[in-house]
Subunit: 215 residues, 2 copies
């Protein structure tokens, strides 16, 4: 008996990669079948909704992915600057390994489809909301004041999304690196001079480590 | 006699708007003809290279556009923060007016096509290089140290590009506004206290990248 869940999972993975690299419109179900190595006949058994259903699955998976990526970066980070640098390293290695084709999992689809396609738009927004929430949690744990953490999370996500666009255009990680260093410098100011608020062990620890993180 | 230059210009304008809103793959020459109101018969007279030629013209126009937009914002700006805020206002009103469909002129095409399509990729990079150079000139004129101006230009462009993605997904200018305010706060630190030695290859940003990336 064919291992149906394997085929299904492989097809979602292949679809996600193609949507990421070239977008929704340039990806056909045939491309997905070919890339995944899944048996052609099973496509509409696994995905009766066709390409749109594959896209919904890929978008949901992108939400898991940004949370995992943030968690992975956080394991090696003991201050906000090193968290941002670790995420940037994960994202730039992916860009380099893919020959500058693999940026954000959903950005290409967002720009092609949002907000005209309402079925997808809520999914797109939910991916960014999950990334924002994961970042806010980590930033706060690393000593950023709650009010600032949300603003810095938005700046970080926007900067990474845009840097991926610039790096694909430049076929180089330089725009990503310059953007990340400027971002870290901005965050450094935040941790170096926190707003007047009750001091906490986390805040003091983060503040004390800032200079090392910049070096 | 038909006014040929008018038809040509209208078609480039319509093509640029469609590529911006939905990307390269979902735009057909018929869409461009319909949107522009140009006579159908003249399409291949004006654009023997078809859709690809329309895209090249739209990309070249995007370079003019970012320079004009930066110049327009600079006319009302007497410090780096107000320059950034004025650019953000231009970009967010365009997003709002278009029902969150009209973000960056080239970002959708970059993510669909770069760097696989070499003919377009150099054009994409050149648009960002022109925006970067225009921003560096204005930042320096407004008192940012030369080494920092290039880094802040990259952060600003990345942040705006990414914020447009987030705002289209959210159908709201909120992510753009939060990102802009965090960016302005970062730039405020720069103007308030000149930084120590640059920690990134900032100087390269405005000059060396384009030729290397094209090579």
């Amino acid at each position: 008996m064919p291992r149906r869940t394997d085929s299904r999972s492989k097809m979602i993975h292949a679809a996600a990669e193609l949507f990421r690299q070239r977008g929704y419109h340039a990806t056909t179900v045939s491309d997905v079948v070919r890339e995944s190595g899944a048996p052609r006949g099973s496509t509409y058994f696994h995905f009766p909704g066709g390409k749109a259903e594959l896209a919904r699955e890929a978008i949901a998976r992108a939400g898991d992915e940004v949370e995992e990526m943030t968690g992975e970066a956080a394991r090696h980070a003991d201050d906000p600057a090193s968290l941002v640098r670790a995420m940037a390293q994960i994202l730039t290695s992916r860009l380099e390994r893919s020959g500058y084709q693999s940026g954000c999992a959903i950005a290409t689809m967002v720009l092609e489809l949002a907000p005209r396609d309402e079925a997808f738009s809520a999914g797109f927004d939910s991916v960014f909301a999950r990334w924002r929430a994961a970042l806010v949690t980590r930033f706060e744990a690393l000593g950023i004041a709650p009010g600032r953490a949300a603003a810095l999370a938005d700046l970080t996500i926007s900067a990474f999304e845009g840097a991926a666009v610039l790096s694909r255009a430049a076929r180089s990680t330089d725009p990503f690196t310059t953007t990340t260093e400027a971002l870290i410098s901005a965050i450094g100011h935040d941790t170096a001079s926190p707003p007047a608020a009750p001091s906490s062990p986390a805040r003091r620890a983060a503040t004390g480590r800032t200079s090392r993180a910049r070096g």
